[in-house]
Amino acid sequence: MKLNKWLRRYYKDQIESLQTLDPPLVGQRSHAQIPSKKRVVQWDDILGIIVTAAYILQFLIPTTWFSWGRCLSIFTLGF
């Protein structure tokens, strides 16, 4: 029993001697750490895909489609 008492006092002193730390703000941190899984598609995302597709198309597809692809890319780049 004496040993238990001594050890308990020893640990208590050790723990009391530790530096005091303030609790962090969890609300803000937790939101920052867990980003929302829901991804909203923006209009500029779609426009970016169209521009890229048009640019690639003008090299891949000859004749009529070539001009359509080029027109589309010039049109969208003009924005």
Partner: protein, 186 residues
């Protein structure tokens, strides 16, 4: 200690285990120092960073805690597993032999000179005895003698059989008693 326990337990009994800043503050005030000490038994460096990570993990999983389990066991299990994962990720030794804070430094924090004189020698002997034990044994000693946990709960945290906890506690007692014999004689 008992009143403190009742106060924080009362909070969760009335409010439930819902993650909130208030709940986090209650857990933080109750556990941050013992947890920091527990972590320092395993990892001396970055213990404060690990404490914050563990506390965040506890907070984020608070609504998953089943009230019929022991909260003490749950929080120390999270802490130990987090530390083990940290050491494994960095391929560090699971039982780093690191020098503990010297007794002079520890008592520099105490402002009561009488208290210092009474305890310094005894604590030096305990310190020497605990330093001679490996990391797992030091953690078992802490959980038993500071937290007053049952062997069954310690076994759950340490992931070892209850019988092993009992035999290790016997070894811890023998080691400390042997070291304290000289103090007792004096």
């Amino acid at each position: 200690m008992h009143n403190q326990l009742e106060t924080w337990q009362l909070y969760f009994q009335t409010q439930g285990f819902k993650p909130s800043q208030e709940a986090f503050n209650v857990i933080w005030m109750k556990y941050y120092k013992p947890l920091l000490y527990f972590i320092q038994n395993m990892i001396r460096h970055h213990a404060e960073d690990l404490l914050q990570e563990i506390m965040m993990k506890v907070y984020q999983n608070l609504d998953r805690f089943k009230p019929w389990y022991s909260f003490n066991t749950w929080i120390y299990t999270i802490a130990r597993n987090h530390c083990i994962n940290y050491l494994k990720k960095r391929k560090l030794d699971l039982h780093p032999v690191e020098k503990w804070e010297t007794i002079e430094n520890i008592h520099a924090h105490s402002h009561n000179p009488e208290h210092q004189l009474l305890n310094q020698e005894l604590h030096q002997h305990i310190d020497v005895a605990l330093q001679s034990l490996d990391c797992d044994l030091r953690q078992i000693a802490f959980l038993r003698f500071y937290e007053g946990m049952k062997c069954r709960d310690i076994a759950q945290i340490m992931e070892i059989p209850t019988g092993t906890v009992k035999s290790r506690l016997h070894h811890i007692r023998q080691t400390i008693k042997k070291e304290l014999e000289s103090y007792d004689e004096a």
